[in-house]
Amino acid sequence: MNTKYFNQFERYYNGEMEPGEKVSFEEALAQNPELNAAFKENLSIYDAISDKDMIDLRIKLREIREEAARDRNKPDFFRHSYNWLWMAALITIILSFTVIVSLLIARVDWKEQLVSEFNTVDTQEYSSLDRELMKFGKRNMDFKLESPDDSLFFNRKDPLLFKWTVNSMNPLILELIDREGNIVFSSGKPALSPYVVNKRLPPGILVYRFRTDTEAYYIGFLFLK
């Protein structure tokens, strides 16, 4: 390829020649075989790159070649797609484990916080009622009533069985109170689980409570038919 005419070709191609210069260039093209051959070759470059379909194909092939070269340079582990799956599975397991452990830790923290709140009730500025309710809640945390069960209605002719567990050495007295606020039954002395109330009780709603000499432990209600 003869490059000595390159500037001339460019000016002609870009329409930068004056009309007179353009005419003399075209005459020279007709008379000078070397110039003519160089011009045709120059045009054939434009022709080659104007083949859009072929250029598109070559660009895609070049990209595929470069992608493959990049892929070859990757560490062996990442070349196979199934390795990515293993990696994803491992990450999922690690994340799940982390979440579960975090939840367990949070739960323990929450329990500890609750206990510490109960323990610091006296030192904080709560109203007397709040303090009493929190102390009541604290006392009842370990009180589990197994009987009577969740049924609301009980037959007053049947003996009423109370069964409970409590994590306290304080003796508990069991009392039953009617809707007027009268104590219709009291164990009198500390009751031990299981405890059966054999007394014939009046029909209607009854509140039962467990208490020590100074404080209430557990309160519930039932309906005797």
């Binding site: 490059t3 390159f6 930068e16 434009y46 080659a48 194909l57 070559r58 895609k60 092939l61 595929i64």
Partner: protein, 187 residues
């Protein structure tokens, strides 16, 4: 990976479908590489030959229907084999093919003409330009005005667009005249 039938491959090649091209590369490049390296070639030669063979086959399927009475693999292998043989002949490299694989005697002369043409060299060297240069030159050959090129590519004005095109064209010509195949063709 998706599997393409013979029909799927030829239809994909007609459309320059990149997925199909990738599939063909993954499926058949190892075979081409093996053949070229065993027959005086290098890894680079294998890559070049694969690309040129794909271009030739694409041209062929776009020009006329390719009714294959053999597997695409056999056809493609035969194209590569013929092209490589021509390349060795042109470069006066002695060869004795060691492949015992199945191949076709392809007499489709026009299949190989493009591979040896200056046009193919111009196109290959064009791809070596920067993306911006390629864009400028493609816009010029598409008939886009220099004002529009300047506007699209964010140049200061028409004159700067002309200057950029001049530099890109000069860069392309320098690459072409330094191409060994071009030198051989121009002798």
């Amino acid at each position: 990976m998706v599997h393409y039938t013979q029909y799927g491959i030829t239809e994909g090649l007609k459309r320059n479908d990149k997925d199909v091209l990738k599939y063909v590369y993954r499926q058949y490049f190892p075979m081409v590489r093996y053949f070229i390296i065993r027959n005086q070639g290098s890894e680079e030669d294998a890559e070049d030959m694969f690309q040129e063979a794909i271009v030739a086959v694409c041209q062929r399927v776009k020009r006329k229907n390719l009714a294959l009475d053999c597997a695409f693999k056999t056809y493609f292998y035969s194209v590569v084999r013929h092209m490589w043989l021509q390349y060795l002949d042109r470069n006066k490299i002695h060869y004795e093919f060691s492949d015992m694989d199945e191949f076709l005697m392809l007499e489709d002369k026009e299949l190989y003409d493009d591979f040896q043409s200056k046009k193919a060299i111009f196109q290959r060297r064009f791809l070596d330009l920067t993306e911006l240069c390629r864009k400028v030159l493609l816009m010029v050959v598409e008939g886009t005005s220099y004002e529009e090129i300047a506007l699209t590519l964010g140049y200061k004005g028409k004159q700067y667009a002309i200057k950029r095109k001049y530099e890109c064209m000069k860069s392309l010509i320098n690459r072409v005249i330094n191409d060994p195949e071009y030198k051989r063709l121009s002798q």
